[in-house]
């Protein structure tokens, strides 16, 4: 597909907002699709310990734990980027500092993922029998 150039850049708007818009969308869809499954697996608790513990054992598998780390990252990204969107929406003049705010929110996300990846990563490796 040919790139179209607008006065702010290439394809769509070409600014950092294009990428955060896409990431916001992807993380949002991922989280709601997981939520659909998660409501069902949690509801199994109403069928007693035997049924629930069998279902929740799925979450104790190391491969699923890798996906779980992705879920945590998705929720966190969506939350932090959502705050950024609200800053732009409620204080429109802040869009003049869009690049700074985008860098700040992405930085905050990556920074908070450091300890989380350490903690959950350790647990993944322990479950996988590596540690």
């Amino acid at each position: 597909m040919a790139k179209r150039t607008s006065d702010v850049g290439t394809l769509y708007k070409g600014s950092p907002g294009q990428w955060s818009w896409l990431a916001h969308r992807i993380t949002g869809v991922a989280v709601i699709l997981f939520l659909f499954a998660h409501v069902v697996d949690t509801a199994v608790v109403g069928w007693g310990p035997e049924a629930y513990d069998r279902v929740v054992a799925v979450y104790h598998n190391w491969v699923v734990k890798v996906l779980e780390l992705g879920l945590v990252a998705a929720v966190l990204y969506h939350a932090i980027n959502g705050v950024k969107i609200m800053v732009f929406d409620f204080w429109p003049l802040s869009t003049r500092h869009m690049r700074t705010l985008s860098l700040a929110s992405t930085g905050l996300f990556l920074l908070s993922m450091l300890p989380i990846t350490w903690i959950m990563g350790t647990s993944i490796l322990e479950t996988a029998g590596v540690l």
Binding site: V8, V31, L76, S123
Partner: protein
């Protein structure tokens, strides 16, 4: 990533709410879409506490999901505070998420009939899960399964 859009003012100078050249979606002028727009932001602020808190408590701190089993849920839901937290999270996350899906569907499903069908599918699934989750959160009684049984 290319740095083709340096930090310069938007081509349309900000007049009033002039962020339109940078954002994908403008604030709707009124009616249902404005309420939807506002709901996403208000529920987003609440979910910042409910969802991020839930994620950190259940998946990160204190052994994370490893410690979650029937006994854990029974102890947790022994407190009305956590039952209320989880129910509020259920309701807000479902509406926020299904409304988000509606907006995504609006962008990508262009044939009106299919769009209606896809949206209806998500509304029905969302409502069904709301009912299921609500019933379980409020009727769950671990004493139906005594530990010795």
């Amino acid at each position: 990533m290319t740095v083709e859009a340096p930090d310069r003012p938007a081509p349309t100078p900000p007049r009033g709410g002039g962020s339109r050249s940078y954002r994908g979606r403008e604030r709707p002028a009124g009616g249902f879409e404005l309420w939807s727009w506002l709901f996403m932001r208000v529920s987003g602020i609440v979910l910042l506490v409910l969802a991020v808190g839930h994620i950190l408590i259940m998946h990160v701190i204190d052994e994370g999901v490893d410690r979650v089993d029937f006994g854990f849920v029974a102890a947790r839901w022994g407190s009305p505070f956590w039952r209320s937290w989880d129910w509020a999270l259920l309701v807000l996350a479902l509406i926020h998420g299904v409304n988000g899906l509606r907006i995504v569907v609006q962008d990508y499903v262009r044939w009106a009939g299919l769009r209606f069908a896809v949206n209806m599918f998500f509304y029905v699934v969302g409502f069904g899960l709301f009912v299921l989750g609500t019933v379980v959160v409020f009727t769950f009684d671990p004493s139906e399964w005594p530990p010795t049984a």
